[in-house]
Symmetry: C2
Subunit: 341 residues, 2 copies
DNA sequence: TTGTAGGCGTTATCAC
DNA sequence: GTGATAACGCCTACAA
């Protein structure tokens, strides 16, 4: 049905090779033949089969991105950055959403062997050594976003600093009773950024001489619902925290709900800090740690493309800047005067 | 570098054809040869090149989805439904995010000719007759989601009914001064669902004898920010509306912000209705029209796959049920007693 | 400048 | 059952 390069050749009275040269605008072709060929191409509405071309050249101009829960707002934003870059340089984008360990393995296996992609972008997903070995064997370019591995290039947020920033902010506002709400997905696809943020928070707490009682640490599945439960429990404590630091904005939303449930005024009775600075954060007036999600996607894609263009595949770790965005969900510690430790 | 079917053949002492038969588990192959071949495949960690296979069979097991603004929450949810079905039947998913008319044309052109996909899913995007012709010529299966065309299968929400439902709800609560906030994207990719919802709303208004002054209709770009502006203007009117119907939850968020800005209590002084029932709607307590986004994606993908499996490609329009979800953003008309028209 | 021939890695149609 | 052989549609030496 669809016409081939041979049809064009025949109608233009040239050989298939010549048509191919026109297609790839090789310099060595007579202007008049070129014109003739182009005319026939136009008439036939002919487009070369990208499949055949790929097989022949070994280049697919396709990259795959695999990510757990690609539906999460933070991931979507990264995906958007990736798509923006790729479409600008005319690469196609294959997406794999993985929600179970099995899907994860399947996708990675498929991609590192099927040889129908040039590059791989892993977001929020730490590959195993064996997987990295296969990726290298397949000569695939690969960049990690919000994940890491010693042999691969990676884009990460500065999560430890982010955690520190959050604590410092509350500390400066006079808070001494600070609780943490962290996420620990059921399926651990990566050493969660969450734990790094938590680590930063604890480091800063220690440095500032803030006590960290065990009951002030709540860890649970990601998402608003679970966070709401956990924060409700925190607020029901005999000595509840005056500040709560969440490792994501979604969790912070849950915290806001819990505060509302418990009748705690924000920020007069309770301060809440989120992480990500999603779009809704401005709506919520949420004080949060902003990390450049869109940019992380762009940057990861850029590096991948440069590797695809022949740049050396160094295992460099690029750490993106974060910053605290102060809004109205945080305020001075209730009570007025400093609290005895 | 990577091994081919011939390497396997050689090492197993058979012909490539036989290896191929083993790969596609054809019945007519001696159990012992099969075992031998499988062993070699294992040893070599061999996987057939999907590219070569595709070229040879003409089937790619890949479908593309193209959508404007695939980053919008409602689209993401649909995408998730699509991905769920496709991965379950082992199809790969190529995504095209289009944000300009040019990208849109480019994507459609590319896909309908490159012949490297089996099917096409268009979400929120009405193809032109010419485009449909090309799609048919390329023998591509194609299903529309939240869009329509006389010659293609489509999944749509019952937008007209949704608009009616919203008006009926406010009417029953006693409201007589009802304003509409609709979205009109800068680039019109499809006859926006928004306008259908609006139509339903107007029909119901007329039926209920509700006046529809021109100043009660605000149309602007999608998104929270613009809606906030438009609603602020509505609230500043000499005779402001007591109820506002938005054609999306994002706009409803903007409306809530505007109400907050203007110091209007929700729902005591102002009722607001959204559309979509996004995840945040529960957080906001937003009364809204729920449409099954995830299901629409699944259903669209299902139909596409069935077509790919040989089902007839009928241009059937499947209309998904919607329902009103009542929450706390709507209440009785302020003032108590009925208003003189 | 252009044509020819071989190859990319499979599958499919024949014979044997 | 299994092995040649010819597609699939393009690219790219190598020749001419």
């Amino acid at each position: 049905m669809a016409s081939t390069i041979h049809d064009v050749a025949r109608l233009a009275g040239v050989s298939a090779g010549t048509v191919s040269r026109v297609l790839n605008d090789s310099p060595r072709v007579d202007p008049r033949t070129r014109a003739r060929v182009l005319q026939v191409i136009e008439d036939l509405d002919f487009r070369p089969s990208s499949l055949a071309r790929r097989l022949s050249t070994g280049k697919t101009r396709t990259v795959a991105v695999v990510s757990p829960y690609f539906t999460r707002p933070s991931v979507v934003e990264r995906l958007r950055g990736i798509a923006a870059i790729l479409s600008s340089v005319d690469y196609e984008l294959l997406v794999f959403n993985v929600e179970t360990a099995q899907q994860r393995d399947h996708a990675l296996d498929l991609l590192s062997r099927g040889s129908h992609i040039d590059g791989l972008l892993l977001v929020g997903l730490d590959p195993s050594d064996a997987e990295v070995a296969r990726i290298e064997r397949a000569a695939l370019a690969c960049v990690l976003i919000d994940a890491s591995h010693p042999r691969l290039a990676a884009i990460v947020g500065d999560d430890v600093s982010g955690g520190k920033l959050a604590v410092r902010h509350l500390h400066e506002l006079g808070h001494r009773r600070i609780a943490f709400v962290a996420e620990m997905p059921r399926e651990a696809f990566s050493k969660p950024a969450s734990s790094l943020r938590l680590r930063g928070a604890r480091l800063e707490s220690r440095a500032a001489g803030i006590a960290q009682p065990a009951e002030y640490l709540a860890v649970g599945e990601q998402g608003r619902g679970r966070a709401r439960e956990m924060v409700s429990a925190l607020l029901a404590l005999p000595v509840p925290p005056t500040g709560i630091i969440c490792t994501s904005d979604m969790q912070a939303m849950g915290a806001l709900e819990a505060a509302r449930d418990a009748g705690r005024a924000i920020p007069d009775e309770l301060s809440i800090v989120g992480y990500d600075d999603l779009d809704i954060a401005t709506y919520l007036g949420l004080t949060t740690i902003r990390q450049p999600l869109f940019e992380s996607g762009m940057e990861g894609a850029r590096i991948l493309v440069s590797q695809l263009n022949g740049a050396p595949r160094r295992a460099r770790r690029r750490r993106l800047k974060i910053e605290l965005v102060r809004r109205t969900s945080t305020g001075p510690r209730p009570g007025g005067d400093p609290e005895p430790a």
